[in-house]
């Protein structure tokens, strides 16, 4: 699926948007403003330890590489901080939570759109 003309391991390109205050947590060099929205393109490995990249890998990548300070405001011990909504290709990630599967385990495809929206008061 991914372009493998380069010799590196295959990468996934994920289009990420941060909204409702989350953008203030993200390093300026990562963010690009598009129509008033705060976006970023993030490259993930196609697989981690043999299993395909998931939302959890994306969130951990953001926590480790994109947050200015206080990563716990984005990602606490168990996952994306409660009160932050996630949309995957414009759909609520909780739709993928059926049958006891953790929404963090949703498998990402190349070029997926992921939006993080804070619903927390004042960020």
């Amino acid at each position: 699926m991914a372009d493998t003309t380069e010799k590196e391991t295959p990468k996934l390109l994920i289009n990420v948007e941060f909204s409702d205050g989350l953008e203030t947590l993200i390093k300026d060099e990562v963010l690009k403003k598009r129509e008033g929205r705060s976006c970023a393109q993030i490259k993930l490995e196609e697989t981690y330890g043999g299993s395909p990249a998931t939302i959890r890998h994306l969130a951990e990548y953001i926590r480790d590489n994109c947050i200015k300070s206080k990563p716990e405001l984005f990602y606490d011990k168990d996952g994306v901080r409660p009160g932050i909504l996630v949309l995957i290709n414009n759909d609520d990630w909780e739709l993928f939570e059926e049958d006891g599967i953790d929404k963090h385990d949703y498998k990402l495809e190349n070029n997926a759109d992921v939006v993080f929206i804070s619903t927390l008061h004042g960020g």
Binding site: T24, L73, G83, L87, L95, T119, H121, G122, G123
Partner: protein, 453 residues
């Protein structure tokens, strides 16, 4: 202590009727692929937006029925945040909607957007964005800035200055005494506001004071623009957080007034909370799918840790609990619907600071069960100086706030207006009421002809 209750929380989860849900389809149209799940109920985008519009209209209609709210002009309180932006959009649409048949009149006799400019305290607040969002609604915008509360007006030429919070170190009957004073000659209103907030000890106290000021200004805005009702944008999530935080701050008396779907505490102005049935998630999706912009409004605890303030901590607690027990927010909201204001609170005078009922005996309650001295209670003699004990004019929670406040702090102008009103009326139960009334009158007379700013 062990738990003796057998209420199974997850089972008690309001299991909304999954009316003949078709697996993998929207609950409403049963055709489209769902795009969002609200407490396990799945909706497609169109049906979700439509349902939100209906829900808002129903909420407004129900409030009207419950308080026999006359058809008046309304003030739409607008902070710029997601919930009030969604409310602005919904209210504007409702106002412009073509209604059929007998319901042909729009629900409001006109609307005004009321916004409080907080940039004096939060310079990063995107004021111009907020105004642009308001303008976009096509409804007239009225703004007051926070520092407005320090503008001299006829009934408060003098400000209340906190004199002392305790009589002796560590000590006996704590008292909240004030004297009437005038602001430093060269201080602007903005500087006075900033000084006040720097005199407040904790972010919790600052949040309390900010809330008090915003409420006073919104009521003022509504009166100035001839509105008989204020629409407040508290969401269900916000309501649950607020209720727990108010409880934690000793505001049980005013709780039903501060989170209720309707409140008539302000006599001439009804406060309505039509967003109370929307959880924060619904608002976020509504705004996104209707392309309704909102602004990021900072608070005193933005980017702070969870224990930064009572509000902050309570929000973290409720949001986390709601993740584990999906019915937490709606359950708390249902609890609140079953509470009402006590008659003694409704009969009380408004607290000088927050404007909510200053319940009688709040001070006695505390001192009886918190002894901090080994000498018998005595009323300190204040007759010789120019200070007044305002303890009985404050609600329990504002007493707590002011006990933490640095002496010398000057309270917003509306506090002296309220004290003046209390002294003029008979609601100030105090032996030095006459003295107080005289002095306030003297003060006003002696200053009314001098130039103030």
């Amino acid at each position: 202590m062990c738990d003796t209750s057998t209420l199974d929380i997850s089972a008690a989860a309001e299991a909304p009727s999954r009316r003949k849900a078709v697996p993998g389809k929207c609950i409403k149209c049963k055709a489209a692929k769902p795009n969002v799940a609200i407490r396990r109920i799945q909706y497609c985008r169109q049906c979700f937006v439509k349902a939100s519009v209906t829900k808002f209209r129903m909420a407004v209609g129900k409030s009207r029925k419950r308080v026999a709210w006359p058809r008046t002009k309304v003030l739409i309180a607008f902070s710029g945040g997601p919930s009030s932006s969604a409310m602005l959009r919904l209210a504007a649409d409702l106002q412009n909607m073509e209604l059929k048949g007998t319901d042909a009149m729009p629900p409001f006799l006109g609307a005004v957007v009321g916004h409080i400019d907080e940039s004096c305290l939060f310079p990063s607040c995107p004021e111009s964005n907020i105004c642009a969002i308001a303008a976009n609604s096509g409804i007239q915008l009225e703004t007051l800035a926070l520092e407005h509360v320090f503008l001299p007006t006829e009934d408060h030429l003098a400000l209340l200055e906190l004199v002392q919070t305790a009589l002796a170190p560590g000590a006996a009957k704590e008292q909240l005494c004030v004297r009437l004073s005038k602001p430093a000659k060269d201080a602007s209103c903005a500087e006075q506001l900033q000084t006040l907030f720097s005199n407040l000890k904790s972010p919790t106290d600052k949040e309390d004071m900010l809330q008090a000021i915003k409420t006073a200004l919104l009521v003022q805005l509504a009166r100035n623009s001839g509105c008989g009702a204020i629409l407040l944008g508290d969401s269900a999530t916000r309501t649950a957080v607020k209720a727990m935080a108010l409880t934690g701050r000793g505001r049980g008396f005013s709780l039903p007034l501060e989170v209720g779907a309707e409140s008539q505490w302000f006599q001439d102005i009804v406060a309505i909370r039509p967003m109370r049935d929307f959880v924060a998630k619904e608002i976020a999706f509504f705004n996104r799918w209707t392309r309704q912009p909102s602004a990021f409004v900072p608070t005193f605890t933005t980017a702070e840790h969870r224990r930064a303030s009572i509000n902050r901590l309570t929000e973290a607690f409720i949001v986390e609990l709601d993740q584990d027990f999906a019915s937490t927010v709606p359950t708390v909201c249902r609890t609140l619907q079953k509470l009402e204001t006590r008659p003694d609170a409704l009969a009380a005078a408004p607290c000088l600071v927050c404007g909510m009922p200053a319940e009688p005996d709040a001070h006695t309650w505390r001192t009886r069960l918190t002894i901090d001295s080994n000498v018998p209670e005595s009323t300190p003699d204040t007759s010789e100086n120019d200070t007044f004990d305002i303890t009985s004019c404050l609600c329990y929670s504002c007493q707590t706030m002011l006990r933490h406040t640095a002496p010398g702090a000057q309270l917003p102008g509306f506090c002296s207006s309220r004290l003046h009103a209390a002294a003029a009326g008979s609601s100030l139960v105090s032996e030095n009421q006459d003295r107080l009334r005289k002095q306030i009158e003297n003060f006003i007379i002696s200053d009314s002809d001098s130039d103030d700013n």
